[in-house]
């Protein structure tokens, strides 16, 4: 069930990238897609249990798998920095293409 929702999120983001005309919305679509991917990592990590993998007083509980969580942290940081860079690019482009329509920008900037 959760898995289906996650894949729906990923697909929503993906089709957003394709179908949205506005460059900014495309970037938001990409963000939605990456949110889906991150959620999928969290879901896979929770297959072995829900407890935060930190040593504490309780013993013999089902810990969540820390590896996917640790790994996706890197991906989140990378995704966020790419997002930031792209938005800076969009700010620059917005000066000459205030509507930010991808087709217009494409027409103006391809030989």
């Amino acid at each position: 069930m959760l898995e289906a929702f996650i894949f729906a999120t990923i697909l929503c983001g993906f089709f957003g990238i394709i179908w949205k005309k506005n460059l900014l919305m495309k970037i938001v679509g990409m963000d939605v897609m990456s949110t889906g991917v991150i959620a999928y990592y969290v879901l896979i990590a929770s297959k072995s249990g829900f407890f935060t993998p930190i040593t504490g007083v309780r013993e013999n509980v089902d810990y969540a798998d820390p590896v996917p969580q640790a790994v996706i942290l890197t991906a989140i940081v990378i995704g966020f920095s790419i997002q930031a860079l792209m938005l800076v690019g969009v700010i620059k482009l917005a000066k000459n293409n205030p509507t930010l329509e991808t087709s217009e920008i494409e027409k103006n900037n391809t030989p």
């Binding site: 990923i10 993906f14 990238i17 394709i18 179908w19 460059l23 495309k26 990409m30 897609m33 990456s34 991917v37 999928y40 990592y41 896979i44 297959k47 590896v67 996917p68 790994v71 890197t74 991906a75 990378i78 995704g79 920095s81 790419i82 860079l85 792209m86 690019g89 969009v90 620059k92 482009l93 000459n96 293409n97 991808t102 087709s103 920008i105 494409e106 103006n108 900037n109 391809t110 030989p111």
Partner: protein, 478 residues
């Protein structure tokens, strides 16, 4: 050797940040780092080293240094060195050199890593660094081209990430060996990410515009080495998991034909070179075992060609026919082209002969057709009229040094497989070239019509990803 390897991976990244603190030393720091990498790559190749490196148990980072890495590391260092020589006096800001060396470091990391997660991180870092180099001129077109690149590569990598976690789920490890016996959808997702990022087959439609609209030195870097990063990963997957090898070879053949088909109809010098890069990537994929050497010769030759086109009076072939180019420039151009076409002179010939020897007969036939196609495309450069008085070459001060360096490296690389210089193979190579030039002469009038560029729009680029993943899925199931 382990400590040395880790220091060597960290060095370029450290230097990259140091450059922002000591901007006046930028080029010297870059030079030292690149020389270190050259020595490291040579050491691996000469001493025939091969060793794995597992950091932090099997959850952590897995590295693998072997001959294949050695060739790619050497390509990386030599291409970067030639671009550094080219840019030495061009008053680039220290930001440019900083990004360049960070790009170098991330590519080095790709060329030794053997697990899906470090590969992801390194590919993304190299993507970001390449993006920053692309938008260095900061005009609208550069920014758009960069954004487009980032869009395609980031979306592709998101699919890759989904594939990676599925591999982890079944193996509890991210290492490449987990691909062994993986289910079709996993292979489809991971390969789709790598194919799109590497510009292979129809998912490579982003590449021509990106490579042709960037500045000359950046184009040389992109075509010479950056695009080989994910190709390297595919080759390594094929070597580690033999059952994936036919798939990779198939992708290689398709790409080689695809690139040549489009390159023939390109009217723009840089666009032609970009499409030719796509077809040469196919050449690397088709024979994973000798792909490293092929990548070395192609990287050196292609970056040289891109540096030269930056100094031609025009980018349009029709205009070049009218204006003619300077003979000195033309001679170097033709020498480098002989390497790409596989004529016996520079190391490109050996790489091509070696590649053809490893293939099955039917694959070899297709690659021979591709070789003829390559000769036809590049004939557009060879038959540009030239004379000594025509338009003074806009030669940048250091272009000649960079070219001498590249040609010298290509000549030295001839040591790798000098058995290739025998009569039958040489006759075959020369016959291919002569046939190619004859066909060029016959069909020349038809080659001037530019093919439509509609498929290179952003939506289509993303849409092609779905197409490629479906194709891959079928290919794996079959």
């Amino acid at each position: 050797m382990n400590t040395l390897t880790i220091t060597w991976i960290a060095l370029p990244l450290f230097i990259g940040f140091l450059i922002f603190l000591l901007p006046q030393l930028d080029r010297y720091l870059v030079l030292i780092t690149l020389i270190t990498s050259t020595i490291y790559g040579l050491e691996i190749l000469i001493a025939n080293l091969e060793f794995p490196l597992t950091l932090l148990d099997n959850f952590g980072v897995t590295l693998l240094v072997d001959q294949l890495s050695g060739y790619f590391i050497l390509t990386n260092a030599l291409v970067m060195l030639s671009v550094l020589i080219y840019c030495w006096q061009k008053e680039k800001h220290d930001f440019f050199y900083g990004q360049m060396i960070i790009l170098h470091g991330s590519l080095n990391a790709i060329f030794v890593c053997a697990d899906l997660m470090s590969l992801y991180v390194a590919l993304e870092v190299s993507g970001i660094a390449a993006f920053l180099l692309m938008i260095y001129p900061r005009h609208d077109r550069a920014i758009w081209v960069g954004l487009r690149y980032l869009f395609v590569s980031n979306t592709a990598m998101l699919f890759y990430l989904v594939g990676a976690v599925l591999v982890y789920q079944s193996n509890h490890s991210f290492s490449f060996t987990g691909l062994n016996g993986a289910s079709p959808e996993v292979i489809a997702l991971i390969f789709m990410g790598l194919l799109s990022k590497g510009g292979i087959f129809v998912s490579g439609f982003w590449l021509p515009l990106t490579h042709s609209e960037s500045e000359t030195p950046v184009s040389a870097l992109l075509s010479g080495i950056v695009v080989k990063a994910s190709v390297f990963s595919l080759v390594r997957c094929a070597l580690i998991v033999p059952e994936l090898s036919p798939l990779v070879q198939l992708a290689g053949l398709a790409t080689a034909l695809f690139g040549i088909g489009f390159a023939m109809f390109a009217n723009d010098t840089k666009r032609l070179l970009a499409f030719s890069t796509i077809s040469q990537l196919g050449g690397i994929l088709v024979s994973p075992a000798v792909g490293g050497f092929y990548a070395l010769t192609h990287g050196l030759a292609k970056s040289g060609l891109f540096l030269i086109t930056g100094s031609l009076p025009s980018r349009n072939f029709q205009e070049l026919e009218k204006t003619a180019i300077n003979t000195r420039l033309w001679v170097v151009l033709v020498i480098i082209i002989t390497s790409v076409c596989g004529l016996p002179l520079l190391a490109g010939y050996e790489a091509k002969t070696l590649m053809l020897k490893t293939l099955l007969p039917w694959q070899g036939n297709i690659m021979t057709v591709v070789a003829v196609g390559t000769v036809i495309c590049l004939a557009k450069f060879v038959f540009i009229p030239h004379n000594f008085t025509a338009t003074p070459p806009i030669v940048k001060p250091n272009l000649s040094f960079a070219l001498v360096f590249l040609v010298a490296s290509l000549t030295l690389a001839n040591m790798v497989y000098d058995q290739a210089y025998n009569l039958p193979d040489m006759t075959k190579a020369i016959a291919v070239a002569v046939i190619g030039w004859l066909i060029y002469y016959l069909i020349k009038p038809y080659l001037n019509r530019e093919l439509p560029r509609q498929l290179e729009q952003l939506e289509h680029l993303i849409g092609f990803m779905t197409l490629v993943s479906i194709l891959l899925f079928w290919a794996v199931l079959a």
